[in-house]
Subunit: 346 residues, 2 copies
DNA sequence: GATCGCCTGTAAACCGTTTTAGTAAATCGG
DNA sequence: CCGATTTACTAAAACGGTTTACAGGCGATC
């Protein structure tokens, strides 16, 4: 019933535990004959080293943790995380690492961190003042941040959120839109602070809009799911103050407003222009294909994993320059149509 | 530099290691005064129990492993896994478990299994004769299979693949299609065997087609990515023997076919009908929205996790009845148009 | 022929927890 | 006031590996 231990193999083969350990980890330290005998006995008994024991003894577990600030049951509704993991996965494969997903355990990310037996952490979208970061510091475990403010202690991988947002807003403004709405990302964990990403994107949108001398946009918080985007559309002003363009901070939310708008009888992009953020693959197949800001998600994952692995080897690493973003114009945006709306602008 | 151990806390607080352990795990066994003192000292020192040591001692790690037969860098290209994890995640949250992703380590799933410190495994799409299953048996770790043949040893969660496939093929046949193509799922790991899922779906397609007395379909292997689907379309016969209907075993492959067909000047569904499998959320937003077979992916994950957790508690569990599948007719399928093709049928 | 070094193999310490078995003091019933 | 519980705490033994330090045998070297 219980699993086979190294001691049982040792006694069955008539050698010491050390010999068995050597057989697997330093075969060259054993004679040909004993090596084969030990390996044979181990095989017959179905011996497998206990991973926790091994991790304790070797001070390394062979896994890296991904700190997720949201619940597992919702976070994968956005393809973002899946794509990021593709990037992380590439490096993990190279280095024989597995990936542990660490979401909050009954609301507490700190508790989850303690429980996780990992050699390093990659954290997603944490505010710089999140208490989880303090815990990571205490433990002194290598950590790389994604979509956060970097600090001397922890390198951070970021993209040019503000620039991308500015380009998105600029695009709508060029098309003549004057009444805009912004779909803001919800705060990640604490109710009080938005994620650094949301802050930067919002700043980009706002900067472009105020520079153009256009009235302040209507903004509404929307989760990263399609359903949340649809709800956000429903809560937008109707009639005279109806926005003609919406800037969403995620593609999923953008798709939600597109479908909700279509369901309410509006045409996209004729009656309403929508631009997303991220450029997840699905954005290219939607109806209409989505205009959005591309960020290199997979590359972001690769880079974070690369830095973390460096850091786990003891080397000190710096935050790299933000990766660049780019506006991808597809078919969910068009020149503003309704003339009487346009004359309200300047 | 190094992390704080229980012994350091004990000596700093002037008590035994046992007392410190009690302070955290059985506070009622300590006097009020010492409890507070120990907790205070631990807090000051920033003590956190070593997860591997804890796992070794308690014989439980608080994580469950997801055995993935493909590389991490590609498997998330299909939303299937993300959705499944949503279901698993719900149960994990309830039971304070984290999720370890276990892909093959340099080609070997067996090696990855050994390295993983988990309390149970959920395995995806393994053939009944995969050697990884043998390893799981040796270790004697609770395991639940998804999309595999169940065995007395391991319960399996499945859906009615054959029925769904039959419905999909029947739908195309009813629409008058007589020249069909099938996009087969690639084998998961070994080059020789297909996954049980692929086998069952293929059987369903074939049964419906031969019962209708229609010529055998052209079949081509296509990965689960959009790009693979597009390549598959390109390899289909052109001209006179061009299929008018395609049965894909995944939505991503179906989307690939649709986009490739559109790029080559064909109209979907007018010139080509396409039906997918899975009904991932994105299928509803594509252009055109995809006709597909819905399987309850999230529920599949929930059920598998529920069974595994039962099994980890020592209860014995049975394979549940296959979950039902349902054809969702959207707009990627239409009656066959080209008359001169139809007269070749009977 | 003694010395050196290499080749095999082992005993014991160590990794950092939890848990079992037990002890001394305090409390209790009678 | 005495034996039986209860309370508060501890020493030591797991848990299952790896690693360090060392020992015996044997051929080569001088």
């Amino acid at each position: 019933m219980s699993r086979v231990t190294i001691a049982e193999v040792a006694s069955a083969a008539g050698v010491s535990k050390t010999a068995v350990s050597f057989a697997f980890n330093s075969p060259e330290r054993l004679g040909q004959a004993t090596l084969e005998r030990v390996l044979g006995v181990a095989q017959d008994l179905g011996y497998t080293p206990h991973p926790a024991a091994r991790a304790l003894s070797m001070r390394r577990s062979g896994t890296i943790g991904v700190l997720i600030p949201q619940r597992l049951s919702t976070v994968f509704a956005n393809p973002f995380l899946g794509e990021l993991i593709q990037g992380l996965g590439e490096l993990c494969e190279e280095h024989d690492l597995t990936l542990l997903l660490v979401p909050p355990l009954n609301g507490s990310l700190e508790g989850a961190i303690r429980q996780a037996s990992v050699d390093g952490f990659i954290s997603l979208g944490l505010s710089p003042d999140d208490s989880a970061l303090a815990v990571l510091d205490r433990i002194g475990i290598p950590t790389v941040l994604i979509d956060s403010e970097g600090s001397p202690a922890h390198p951070a991988v970021n993209v040019d959120d503000a620039g991308g947002a500015r380009a998105a807003a600029g695009h709508l403004l060029e098309l003549g839109h004057r009444q805009l709405a912004i779909l803001v990302l919800p705060p990640a964990r604490s109710q009080v602070h938005s994620t650094p990403t949301a802050v930067r994107r919002l700043a980009g949108y706002r900067a472009a809009i105020t520079e153009a001398g256009v009235p302040a946009p209507h903004s509404v918080i929307a989760g990263i799911s399609v359903a949340a985007g649809a709800r956000a559309f429903d809560s937008l002003p109707k009639g005279k103050h109806r926005p003609t363009g919406v800037l969403a901070m995620s593609d999923m939310a953008a798709i939600g407003v597109v479908t909700a708008a279509q369901a309410s009888g509006l045409l996209v992009p004729d009656d309403l222009s929508v631009v997303g953020f991220d450029d997840v693959p699905a954005s290219a197949w939607t109806n209409p294909p989505l205009t959005t800001v591309r960020q290199p998600i997979v590359e972001k994952g690769r880079m974070a994993a690369r830095l973390l692995i460096q850091s786990m080897k003891g080397k000190s690493v710096e935050s790299p320059a933000p990766l660049s973003t780019r506006l991808i114009v597809r078919s969910s945006t068009a020149p503003v149509r309704n003339l009487d709306l346009r004359i309200n602008g300047r």
